[in-house]
């Protein structure tokens, strides 16, 4: 193992950190929004809608992310072409950027998990809290925004942030469709200089630093959010 090559690889890989974090963040935001929508669908009273959602969520959670990614990679251009032909959008699907396949597949997959987190967080707010708000004369909207949402958020946010670090790691599969993240960059380096161990070690260190730093920040956030649960009862 050559330390010279290792350092070179490290800095090359370090340069793709912003785009890896950015892409993961974009997916996280989209998936959180979609997950909230899924939560609402789940609460729907129509059994048919409920059943459809259950089938959908079972499929997305039951099939490996890798396969979702590949299915969207091959399937998305076909769907877009069909739509484009139907409505005369004139979109050329020959050079459809594979990043769209990553965004769509990762968002749908993550949303099906985040929906559970969101549902659980809203459920975790005790009925006593909601009842107190009603008894004080809050309207439905006030009750939601002043009592339910803040408490559910402080429950959900640490879990959603935790999911973010998972997403960063999951994004390593994107090299299969030639989207460049930290791992894909390492792989490109090995192809360029044929030195596997240096590049993979460098990537591992980059991931490690990222995860440790993010986890540290997120635990500070969590500590702050849970300040009211810290009982110092004498």
């Amino acid at each position: 193992m050559s330390s010279h090559i290792f350092v070179g690889d490290f800095w090359t890989i370090w340069k793709v950190v912003p785009q890896t974090l950015g892409l993961s963040f974009l997916i996280l935001i989209l998936a959180t929004l979609l997950g909230s929508l899924f939560w609402q669908i789940q609460e729907s009273r129509h059994t048919a809608i409920k059943f459809l959602y259950h089938a959908f969520s079972s499929y997305f959670r039951g099939v490996p992310l890798l396969i979702h990614l590949l299915i969207f990679y091959y399937g998305l251009p076909i769907v877009i072409k069909a739509l484009s032909d139907q409505f005369n959008w004139g979109v050329s699907t020959n050079q459809l950027n594979p990043i769209y396949a990553v965004i769509v597949s990762y968002t749908l997959y993550s949303a099906s998990f985040l929906a559970e987190i969101i549902r659980g967080s809203f459920k975790s707010v005790g009925t006593d809290q909601l009842e107190a708000a009603s008894a004080l004369g809050y309207t439905g909207t006030q009750r939601f925004f002043a009592v339910w949402l803040p408490q559910a958020l402080s429950e959900a946010l640490p879990k959603i942030l935790n999911y973010y670090t998972l997403l960063i790691r999951q994004l390593s599969l994107a090299f299969l469709v030639s989207v460049v993240d930290i791992f894909a960059k390492a792989k490109l380096e090995t192809a360029a200089n044929d030195r596997y161990i240096e590049a993979f070690c460098a990537a591992a260190i980059v991931y490690w630093i990222l995860c440790v730093v993010l986890t540290l920040i997120f635990s500070k956030v969590e500590h702050y959010l849970r300040r009211y649960d810290r009982s110092v009862l004498a």
């Binding site: 006593d128 809290q129 009842e131 107190a132 708000a133 009603s134 008894a135 004080l136 004369g137 809050y138 309207t139 006030q142 002043a146 009592v147 803040p150 408490q151 402080s154 300040r227 009211y228 649960d229 810290r230 009982s231 110092v232 009862l233």
Partner: protein, 260 residues
């Protein structure tokens, strides 16, 4: 003034309230007594429509709601005449003591935030909790939480405050401080409806006592009438049992079990 007429409520075909009628003048302190599971809590929750009765009419301070409710806005209008103090305090656990008293005023009464703060401080002072403004509920004892919850109710300037067994989750020493706070509320002249098992307290604070059993009002009168000359034989038997259970040594044991 509170006027409750013919209120019925069933849960899963089990009758909990079986045609309740109750009248209370403004400024009255009404205590509801009776065996556990007799519908006292349900009646309180029907008065502010946290539970919707199956039939009946509820009128508070000129707002009259008839079941079935036609206009959902009436629920809020009626509810805003009241405030409630819960058995388990139900303070907003993510808000400090001060926020717990300020936010309802701002949201429900549209009080200016500065004014709400001043009022909150006044009422916290009233219940002896002015030194705990920055604390979160989880950092307080049960009695302290309950006193904050009383301040929160007072701050809304309600016509009626409903107390749902406010001391039954507390140790005897902690109950005392809460009972003192309720005394202060009574002194302010606000109408009170209070469900309780503390007979001695009921006798000393109220000027109207309602004895309930199996979802019915059995007897309704002054403390002197109910506690010393009950007209109904069932009332007498209940109070008789209660006196036996309240015997000093035995009651100490009961309290101990509760703590465990």
């Amino acid at each position: 003034m509170i006027e409750i007429t013919n209120v019925h409520k069933q849960f899963n075909n089990r009758t909990v309230l079986n045609g309740i009628n109750l009248h209370a003048e403004t400024g009255n302190v009404v205590t509801l007594i009776g065996p556990s599971g007799t519908g006292k809590t349900t009646l309180l929750r029907c008065i502010n429509l946290l539970e919707e009765p199956d039939q009946g009419t509820i009128e508070i301070d000129g707002v009259r709601v008839q079941i079935p409710i036609k206009n959902k806005n009436d629920i809020l209008t009626l509810r805003r005449k009241t405030a409630m103090v819960f058995q388990q305090y139900n303070l907003f656990r993510n808000q400090t003591v001060l926020q717990n008293v300020v936010q309802p005023q701002v949201l429900v009464k549209r009080t200016n935030k500065q004014v709400a703060k001043q009022r909150a401080e006044t009422f916290l002072q009233e219940v002896g909790m002015q030194d705990y403004q920055k604390y979160y509920p989880s950092q307080l004892s049960g009695g302290q939480q309950q006193r904050v919850s009383i301040a929160r109710a007072l701050a809304l300037d309600p016509k009626v405050i409903l107390f749902d067994e406010p001391t039954s989750a507390l140790d005897p020493e902690l109950s005392r401080e809460v009972l003192n706070a309720i005394h202060k509320v009574a002194d302010l002249g606000i109408t009170i409806v209070l469900a309780t098992h503390e007979m001695q307290f009921a006798e000393e604070i109220s000027n109207q006592v309602v004895f309930m059993e199996n979802g019915n009002v059995v007897e309704d009168g002054t403390p002197a009438e109910i506690f010393h000359h009950p007209a109904n034989e069932r009332t007498a038997r209940f109070l008789e049992n209660y006196r036996v259970r309240q015997a000093p040594i035995y009651s100490a044991q009961i309290k101990k079990f509760k703590v465990v």
